[in-house]
């Protein structure tokens, strides 16, 4: 059942991203011609890899982000390939790779959360609809029109990006804790099975949300 759900989840996510790309291009020059796609990929790579004039802290942030990205790819491919394609659990050298990458990934997620939490906090500009409702209820008008206008120009995270960020942080807890707690002599066989299921499903949700988050980050960077 998990295999089926995983396949459906990934298919829906990737199809949704593709539809979004086509239906809602992120910039005016964006198109579906090969040259345009290639230009966008080169720009993306330069954003990630070429030396930029950044402070030490920003360099550290970028490094942690790249390591987290790499670990995420390793964990997702290694973890889901065995279960979805080979229909068996991970074993052998792959389990060692999974455990190693998992430890590094946990640290990276924690560091990135510390560094990006403030940037991804929700504010009034994220909830125009909700803000209008609240104004109706409380009869208090908001004075943040400038903030709203500014957010629409700068490359600050959008609502979707913020939601996916916090979902990643929330999902990281059961994802990590389910595996770490199974390493202690606390839980018997029944609870071990339950922890494994928790880990699987939280990993699936985490992966899907992370993919959407990465897409939104790229989209934001490209459109700025």
């Amino acid at each position: 059942m998990f295999r089926m759900i995983s396949i459906i989840g990934f298919v829906v996510t990737f199809v949704g991203i593709a539809v979004c790309c086509i239906a809602f291009p992120c910039c005016k020059e964006c198109g579906a011609r090969p040259g345009q796609i290639l230009r966008r990929l080169v720009r993306l790579c330069t954003l990630l890899l070429l030396e930029q004039k950044l402070s030490l802290l920003c360099v550290f942030k970028k490094l942690v982000y790249l390591i987290a990205l790499l670990c995420f790819v390793i964990l997702a491919v290694n973890g889901f390939f065995a279960v979805v394609v080979l229909e068996r659990s991970i074993s052998g050298y792959w389990i060692m790779l999974q455990t190693t990458a998992g430890g590094v990934f946990a640290v990276c997620v924690a560091i990135l959360t510390v560094m990006w939490a403030r940037r991804h906090r929700f504010n009034k500009s994220d909830w125009p609809g909700l803000r209008r409702i609240l104004e109706r209820i409380t009869l208090v008008k908001s004075a943040d029109e400038e903030l709203l206008n500014r957010n629409q120009v700068d490359a600050v995270p959008g609502l979707g990006q913020k939601i996916t960020f916090w979902l990643i942080v929330v999902l990281a807890l059961p994802l990590i804790l389910s595996m770490v707690s199974s390493m202690f002599p606390l839980f018997g066989t029944y609870w071990q099975e339950l922890l494994l299921e928790v880990h699987r499903y939280s990993a699936l949700l985490f992966a899907l949300v992370a993919i959407v988050h990465i897409y939104l980050v790229i989209r934001t960077q490209m459109s700025s």
Binding site: T113, T138, V170, I176
Partner: protein, 616 residues
Amino acid sequence: MRKGLIVIAICCLLVSALPVHTAGKLLGDGDDGNRTNPVHLIPLYDRDGIKIKAGDDKPQPFSLRQTCGKCHTYKTISGGWHFNSADPNVPAGRPGEPWVLVDFETRIQIPISGRGWPRTFRPAELGITSWPFLKHFSTHLPGGDYGEIPDTEDMQAILKGQVAGRYEINCLTCHNADRSQDQSDAALQAVRQNYKWVPTGSCGFAEVKGAVASLPEIFDPEFDEVPITVSYDKSRFNQADEVFIDIVRRPPANRCYFCHSTQDTARAGQLEWTRDEDVHLAAGLTCVDCHRHGLNHNITRGYEGEAWQTECQDSTNGSAATLSCKDCHMTGRLGAPVPKHPGIPLVHFEKLTCTACHSGNWPENKTGLVKTARIHKLGLHDIHHVDLELPHIASPVFVKGQDGKIAPHKLLWPAFWGRMKDKTVTPLMPAVVREAAVDALELDVESTETVNGWRPLKPEQILQVLKLLTEQQAEQGEAIYICGGKLYRITEEGKLEASEHEAARPYSWAIAHDVRPAAQSLGVRRCEDCHSTDGPFFFGEVAVDSPIVSEQDSIKKMVEFQDIDAVYAWVFAFSFVFRPWLKVVALGSCGLLGVILLLYGLKALACVVKVLAVEK
């Protein structure tokens, strides 16, 4: 009319009072549900069905086929697991303990079994008929099986078989709860080839004197008096010439132990008292609480998957599935504690049997040696006592079994001379080798020199013997010698070559006893009980048993028997060094994430509170 009805009624009452006999069933074949053991105050019958009386002038030995067979269908019982190894149609099931033919002089130890387990040889493959089979192995045989197969090939069998009689199933071996039932005495009768006297000699209320084995070659029972006498304890007979035998349905463990004992050579002799008994027996269970059967005596062996393996033999053995470790302990049957296995990843239950962690001796860096009752003839307390060092049996050796799970095994390295044709190896009997290689093996020289229990063997001697064997009956195949996990043959250049071969691989059989308590199971201390770079589970040393002097120090690592890459096992074990760090790092990361969530969650709550508290 009225009188007629009365007669009919009386007849009905009489018929109903008769012993219950359904078609094909005798009185003792059923079980009416009353759990008491029926009192066996019974007459004894000899082989010809004649009742034995206390006042008999020359009493005959009693026959259990005739005595017990009056109430219990002997034919049904004789199809049971203890008596059917000679039947090629019986599903062999999981490989078990073989017989081992050992010949010190010719440096031979061959695992033999009529069941055809892989890497054992059926007696017929070695030309062993039932008479020589009994000669080698009858001390720890409960009768039946090869004991009741007439031997028309062996000259000794032809000459003495009529006197010796058949080795019938000795029901008393298991079912006589009387402490005077002496299996060592039964073994002594078997050694003397007094096969039809075995039950009588061991029952505790009779004495047998004389031996078939000491009869002259030319002995005609028609004309010569059989010099084997039986004298019964007449006080055991009542006035009706019946004898009370304390027969029980459920044999005590003491009965099973005669054939199913294992001695740890590291704690033998004066240190035997330091060994702990199986935890099940210490808790009050007995062997037959788990190893059960019905009339057919198709005893459950208790391993997982047994039911489907033996299904074709006995459809009622579906209950075998409920008597394995898992099925009792997961259901709490007979008060079995239900294990929690805290902290043990699920993969362990896919790759290991229950016995891997719970059975046998705690693994040491060097695997120890054991002796078993059947192979080393333990328990013989008379002139037939022997102290056999060979064969060397290593235990526990963790081997991947046929079911793909790793389990503790006893392991034996075969050694024998043979012929190889089309890659199929057939052993040669010791007598054939003796005849051909007297000088090469120095058989005419009395020598007490031993190396690790073997009469030492040199490669030059192997070459010499193989040449001699090649000269004889070369058409039967190439002469080879197997020992120490290798096959030795002569190359075209006339040199000795050693190579790997399937037939040279060690024979192993899974063990389940003695079971250690949970507090002494592997992994109870920490994962490193097994997952360490010098842990005995993966990297313990198993000595390669060989008579060749230069091969004496050969060892194999445990991991070689588990179908696991040694490098992977080492790297995986090494990774456990970093496991505590991983836990700390992961928990620390979770802590940090939790704090951030809490912080921003509280901020969000503060915003909501602020918004709701605003008044115009």
